[in-house]
Symmetry: C2
Subunit: 151 residues, 2 copies
DNA sequence: TATTGTTATACTCTATAACTATA
DNA sequence: TATAGTTATAGAGTATAACAATA
């Protein structure tokens, strides 16, 4: 309520940069026949093995929406479904080697695509920018890391 | 190529903040039965009267995709189609008063929704952050402002 | 009874291809 | 001929509702 000028300007910049970044992610995803959501799923699976319901919560989707999404990525061999040790109702989602390889390639393409933008700052400015972004980032929702109880 | 640590960390922050901002925009849009793209269209129309082809270019969509999108927003009275003065093939898109009102309300909701995040910085930090974002933002594609020749 | 996930259904979003009208 | 926009069509993404299996 009663936001000041600095907030206004900041939100404008955040929204514009968000659209710009999403544009890059969408384009790179599309070049590999991946939707933005699938891209995001692969990113999440790099270091987690969530169950369907956890994944749906993180993505802000209904669990029914996830079934088809995971089906399509599964059919392409990017991930697989596994069973949960303790809860026989649950399904855990696991990235495959092929999925991991693709994700790594995509990540490098994103870095390259954003290089002209990030390169307009010097290293010190990049560090400051990253540090200032940190507090505004919501801590990622807790996801069971590397499957329940393991590690 | 050969990105350093500061770039890596920055891109990570930019991507995460992008997903966070998009999450807010998607949710607020959905609460008003608007897709992210429709939200963006309304934002663009606040101060421009682009033709269909220009709008498609800015959004990165095929023009055929835009027809239905504009149809649905038109049916809801948020915008209208007008004719171009010089080119009888062209259609310009205009926001209506109702559309403008809704857009203003949505903008305030976005500010409110992001307030907990932006409030974690003090005004000086907000200003610095906005200034550091500026150089990484692509200048918005040129759109005929306020219809060709007017103003 | 409540929760996990899937399926059936419907609508939006998007692209490709074919079309009409105008340049 | 080329460009602007629409329409037809098809596939992906999403939500709601109903369902089976498990807790």
């Amino acid at each position: 309520m009663a936001p000041d000028d600095s907030t206004d300007t900041l939100v404008d910049g955040l929204v514009r940069s968000a659209f710009q970044v999403m544009g890059v992610l969408t384009r790179i995803g599309a070049e590999h026949d991946l939707s933005l959501t699938q891209l995001r799923v692969l990113g999440i699976l790099r270091d987690r093995q969530p169950r369907m319901s956890e994944l749906a919560a993180v993505l802000g989707l209904d669990k029914s929406s996830l079934s088809g999404l995971i089906d399509r990525a599964d059919r392409r061999g990017l991930l697989t479904r596994g069973t949960h040790q303790d809860d026989k109702r649950a399904v855990v989602v696991l990235i495959t080697d092929a999925g991991r390889d693709l994700t790594q390639r995509l990540y490098e393409e994103v870095l390259d695509a954003l290089a002209p933008a990030t390169g307009r700052l010097d290293p010190e400015q990049r560090q400051t920018l990253a540090q200032l972004l940190e507090p505004i980032l919501t801590p990622p929702l807790h996801l069971t890391p590397r499957s329940a109880g393991r590690r």
